[in-house]
Every structure is written in structure tokens, then in C-alpha cells.
């Protein structure tokens, strides 16, 4: 798992280490160059002083310098070694005077040669001395930094933890919640980096809360509405059990059958409604010819209309292709036509039409029924709202379903007076 704290710590410390290493390296090279100049100068001074002395006094006059780290050689004109302070070192005679580096069995040495009248003086010093000095200087520069490094680590750790504390408290606040607790998280006192997260979380919580409330309301409504048909079935069943004559029993069972049908219809409508809820399906919309849908629905409903002596038909059909879900559109138009037929008295008429208006496809269903009073028109799309027409059976869900489907298709629904100023006219306007 990625951890901001671990990553910050890792990269900050890595950066520090690189910085310290760079400082050390820089100091080392700088010190070595300076040491080289210094020691070269010393070598030269020593060579000059040796060249001015007699060979016999050399071991005594330079006793102090003649330790392991300094070698003096004196050669005569014929390349004969007159004197060597460290004979085992075997530094050859350099062809040219001046500075040069020589490899020996004791490592690389720095040699300075000078020609003085009849002899050649060579003074040598191990290069390791330079390097040791440079390393010592580099170490002196870096050592305080090395002490600071762990301190920096602790500081970084604490700062990051402090900086991330709002996130920690946020996550524990979220963790300690129950699934039902959707009140917003506190937005005050948050750093700028965390605030957008909390704000969008609260936004999500709000939307979730509203969706949950809608869902709860729906379930409560549904359970409540199911009581009515179930009560009827319960009572019809008791009456059927009490029936004493075959005729009474047959009538009671007919009633019972109707009661069960009503409950079944209500459940089917509830399921249809649930399927039309936003987010219930993610099936992509496809091009649908509304005329085709209207033909299908009218044909489906024709037997029901004939039973009730209502004349149902497609009065106007202009090809109109809209983006939609074919099943949903059929359910929607089916509900509208079914309603129209149900509420229209015998001898009445239901007209379905598909037309164009202003780059929109317009679907209308007109009937010669009682219509809906203007005062009720806003509420008829509410779930379980039923008008005053008590003798028309229904679940009170048909228009809620229609509204849900229209909303999903970005279509607008309007209610108006129907044919000849009587009845109801439902207009659904689709974008094309």
C-alpha cells in the first residue's frame, strides 16, 4: 500500500543524503586540490634547501622531515645515486625536472626534481597523504550533517504526521459511522488540500442521503399500498370459507380472484416503477420509431378497449425517431393508453397521435373520459395518488411510471383537456 508519510520520508531523506554526499565529495576534491598546491610548494622548498647543502649533512639537517612519508634523493651528473633517504623505495631518476607522479611498491608518490649545478635533487611524498588530508577535511564538513540527518528524519516524520492529522481524523470519523449516518462531515478547520475532499464527500453523502430517503419512502409507500389489496384478499378469503351454497362460494371465489389480480397488478406496477428509477438500468438508448411503438401499443390494447366499447386508434402518425429504451417507451405509452381506456365511458374514444413540432417529436393520447381537474394535474404524477373516480380500479402508479420514463428520456409531459374540450389529453414531447 502506498503511504504519503512513507513516501515523503523516503524522498526527503534520500534528498538529504544526496545533498550530504555531494557536499562531502565537493569538499574532498576541493581540499585535495588545495592540499596538492600546499604540498607541492613544500616539496619545492625542501628540494631547494636540499640542493644547497652538502650530501654528508643531509641525514642530520633533515632528520625531522625524513620519516616514512618523505624521501630525498641526490643524483650526480652521470645518473649515479649519491644519496637516498629511503633506499628501499627505488624511485627512478626522472628524466625532466619538475613535478611528476611515480608508482612504487608503497603506492603512488609525488616527485619534485630540481637541477642544481652538478647534481639532481629529487624529493618525493606519497600521494596518500594528500588524500588523507582531503578526506579528513571532507569528513569534518560532513560529520555535523551526519548527526543532523536522523534528527531531520524525525522532524520530517513528525511534520508529515501533523500535516496528515486532518486526514487521519477524517478517516476515523468516516470509519466510526454506521451505514445510515449520512450527516455531513465538519468542513471547518481543514487545510486547503483536504477541504475539497471533504466537500465532495459531503456532496456525495447528501446525494446518497436523498437517494436513500427516496428509496425508504418508496418502500414505505409500497408496503402501505400493498395492505389494501391484501386486506381485500384476506376478507374475500374469509367470505369464501363461510359460503354455504355453491352459488355463494362461486361468487366469493370470483371476488377472491379479482382481489388477487389486483394485488398482482400492483406488484407488477411497483416492479416497473422500480425499474424506471434513475440508475436502475444502464442500458444505452437506441433510436426508436415512436410510430412503431404507438402501433404496437394500440394493437395490444385494442381487445381491452373493445371489451369496454371504447374506440381506440392511431389518428396521426408522422415518422419520429427518438433516442430511447424500446421496452420503457412501450410501458409508458401502454400505461397512458390503458388509463385513457379505463377512464373513458363506453361509447367513448381514445386517439393516439405521433407528430412533429419545432424539432420535437410529440406523442399525444386523448380521450373522452372525465379528465383530471386542473387542481389535481400537478399531483397525479405522485406515486399512489388516486383521483376521485372511485369505481375505476388502479394502483395509483401508472402516471408515476410514465413520469419516470419520460424523465429518463428528457421528455416533457403536459396534461390538458382532451377531445372536444372533454376528457384528458396527455402530451409527451421528446427531443429529436
Amino acid at each position: 500500500m502506498r503511504s504519503i508519510r512513507r513516501e515523503l520520508l523516503l524522498w526527503l531523506l534520500l534528498g538529504l543524503v544526496v545533498a550530504v554526499a555531494a557536499a562531502a565529495t565537493g569538499t574532498y576534491y576541493q581540499a585535495r586540490r588545495e592540499a596538492k598546491e600546499l604540498f607541492d610548494y613544500q616539496l619545492k622548498q625542501l628540494a631547494l634547501s636540499v640542493s644547497n647543502e652538502r650530501i654528508s649533512v643531509l641525514p642530520h639537517s633533515h632528520e625531522r622531515e625524513l620519516d616514512d612519508d618523505l624521501a630525498i634523493q641526490v643524483w650526480d651528473r652521470n645518473d649515479k645515486l649519491l644519496y637516498s633517504s629511503s633506499p628501499e623505495l627505488a624511485i627512478p631518476r626522472r628524466p625532466d625536472p619538475g613535478y611528476s607522479n611515480v608508482a612504487t611498491h608503497r603506492g603512488r608518490w609525488r616527485v619534485f626534481g630540481i637541477q642544481a649545478r652538478d647534481k639532481l635533487v629529487q624529493v618525493a611524498q606519497p600521494l596518500a597523504v594528500y588524500e588523507e588530508l582531503a578526506a579528513a577535511m571532507a569528513f569534518r564538513v560532513v560529520s555535523p550533517l551526519l548527526v543532523i540527518l536522523p534528527l531531520m528524519g524525525v522532524l520530517v516524520w513528525l511534520t508529515v504526521r501533523r500535516g496528515l492529522r486532518p486526514l487521519t481524523s477524517l478517516s476515523s470519523a468516516v470509519r466510526s459511522r454506521t451505514a445510515a449516518a449520512l450527516q455531513p462531515l465538519p468542513e471547518t478547520g481543514l487545510p486547503d488540500e483536504v477541504k475539497p475532499l471533504v466537500v465532495s464527500l459531503n456532496d456525495l453523502l447528501g446525494r446518497l442521503g436523498r437517494a436513500m430517503a427516496a428509496q425508504k419512502g418508496f418502500i414505505a409507500d409500497a408496503a402501505h399500498e400493498l395492505r389494501t389489496p391484501l386486506t381485500a384478499v384476506q376478507l374475500q378469503l374469509e367470505l369464501a370459507r363461510w359460503a354455504t351454497t355453491p352459488e355463494e362460494r362461486a361468487a366469493a371465489f370470483d371476488d377472491l380472484q379479482r382481489g388477487v389480480s389486483r394485488a398482482t397488478h400492483l406488484i407488477a406496477q411497483l416492479l416497473t416503477l422500480a425499474r424506471q428509477e434513475p440508475g436502475a438500468t444502464n442500458r444505452p438508448l437506441e433510436p426508436i420509431d415512436l410510430v412503431e411503438t404507438a402501433r404496437l401499443v394500440v394493437a395490444e390494447q385494442a381487445p381491452f378497449a373493445a371489451d369496454r366499447h371504447v374506440d381506440v386508434g392511431l389518428s396521426n402518425a408522422v415518422e419520429s425517431v427518438v433516442q430511447g429504451n424500446p421496452e420503457a417507451l412501450r410501458v409508458m405509452l401502454g400505461n397512458l393508453v390503458d388509463n385513457a381506456i379505463r377512464y373513458t365511458p363506453a361509447g367513448g374514444r381514445v386517439d393516439v397521435a405521433v407528430t412533429h413540432a419545432d424539432r420535437h417529436a410529440v406523442l399525444t393520447v386523448r380521450d373522452t373520459g372525465p379528465g383530471i381537474p386542473a387542481a389535481d394535474r400537478g399531483r397525479v404524477f405522485d406515486r399512489f395518488f388516486r383521483g376521485h373516480e372511485l369505481d375505476v380500479p388502479g394502483s395509483g402508479l401508472g402516471l408515476a411510471i410514465v413520469k419516470g420514463i419520460a424523465d429518463r428520456h428528457l421528455a416533457r409531459i403536459e396534461l390538458d383537456s382532451g377531445l372536444d374540450g372533454r376528457g384528458l389529453c396527455v402530451t409527451v414531447t421528446f427531443p429529436m
Binding site: H224, T231, A232, Q234, L235, L239, W242, D255, H388, D391
Partner: protein, 220 residues
Amino acid sequence: MRLLLVEDDAMIGQSVHKGLRRFGWSVDWVRDGRAAELALQNEVYDGVLLDLGLPRVDGLDLLRAQRRKGNDIPVLVITARDAIEDRVEGLDVGADDYLVKPFHMEELAARIRALMRRRAGRVSPVIAIGELRLNPATREVTLADKPLPLSAREFALLSALADRPGAVLSRSQLEEKLYGWGEEVESNTVEVYIHMLRKKLGADFIKTVRGVGYMVAKSA
């Protein structure tokens, strides 16, 4: 006994209407609050079965208005609203009992009997007058511990009188208790049933108060 059923749902209303008549009660059924208000204006009912979610006038408003007018008729609320607050509100507004849908007809009938019993101030479910025992729940009648078979109308007439011993009920009051709306009332039926009851119970059990009506003495 005559009850007013206020229920907007056709299937439930029809079933309760049919079912309660099997208990020997006459039931009038109205389907909205306004019709219920009208029906309650003539005070012939022994009780009201009231659904709350009614068109036009809400059931609770109807009940509140009746209680404000001083109408003390027993009211049994029948509703799908089952939340505690709803029940409390219903009872506080003036309902005598509260029955949540779905319910059994038997329970409804038992609650109606209980309401009637309380209203008459009786404790025992069995009405006892002299040697007569009348059980409204089983509709069994005994006289001196012997079963007394009665027709539904005879039982209804006798229980109307026995329910309030000492009270005089007029012929039209008795007719109202025997017949619901739309039922043909033949002339002098009350006299016919009184005559048949007297044959079974003895001539003195039901007394005629001339020019007023009939009564059962408190201890015959």
C-alpha cells in the same frame, strides 16, 4: 344493530359489508367522508367503522368534527396507517378502537361486540335477563338452560331489545336496526317477529308500551 361502514376501497368495502351481515348486523356502506357526514346526521347507527384515507373529507377530520359536535357514537378506526403516532392520534381524536389492515373479519366482529358491550356498560360477554342468556359472539340463545333456536332477524330484534333492558324502542327504531339501505321493509314485519319471539319466549318477556313501542324489562 346497525353499523355505518366508511371505506373508499370497493373490494374491502364490499367484503366487510357482506361479512358483517353474516353476523346478523345491518350495515350501510358509504365511500367518502362527505357521504359519511350526511349518513351520520340521522342518528340511527350503533357504531361507525371508519377508514382514514378517504376522498373529499379525511377520516380523522370527520371523526374530530363529530366529536366536537358531541356525537358519542362508538367509532372503530380501520386503517393501513400502523405507525404508533397514527394510532395514538386516532385514539386521541376520539376513536374507541383501532384496527390495522390487513385484518380478519372475526377480529373486526369481536371488536365491534366489545365496543357494544362497553357502551351498554356490561362486563360479561353474555347478556342475561331472567332465565334468558344471549351470547352476541356465538349468537346462541338459551332459555332456562335450554337452547332456543332463533332466525337471524329474530335474533337481531331480540338483541336490540336485550341490549338495553328497560329502554323502549319504537317500531321504526327497530326497523332501522333490522334493515340496511336498499333492503325492502315489509309493513308490520316488526309485529310479525315480535309475535314469533313471544311464542318462543313466553308472552310477557317482550312488553308492549302502547303508542310508544316495545321493551324488555330489566329482570323479566
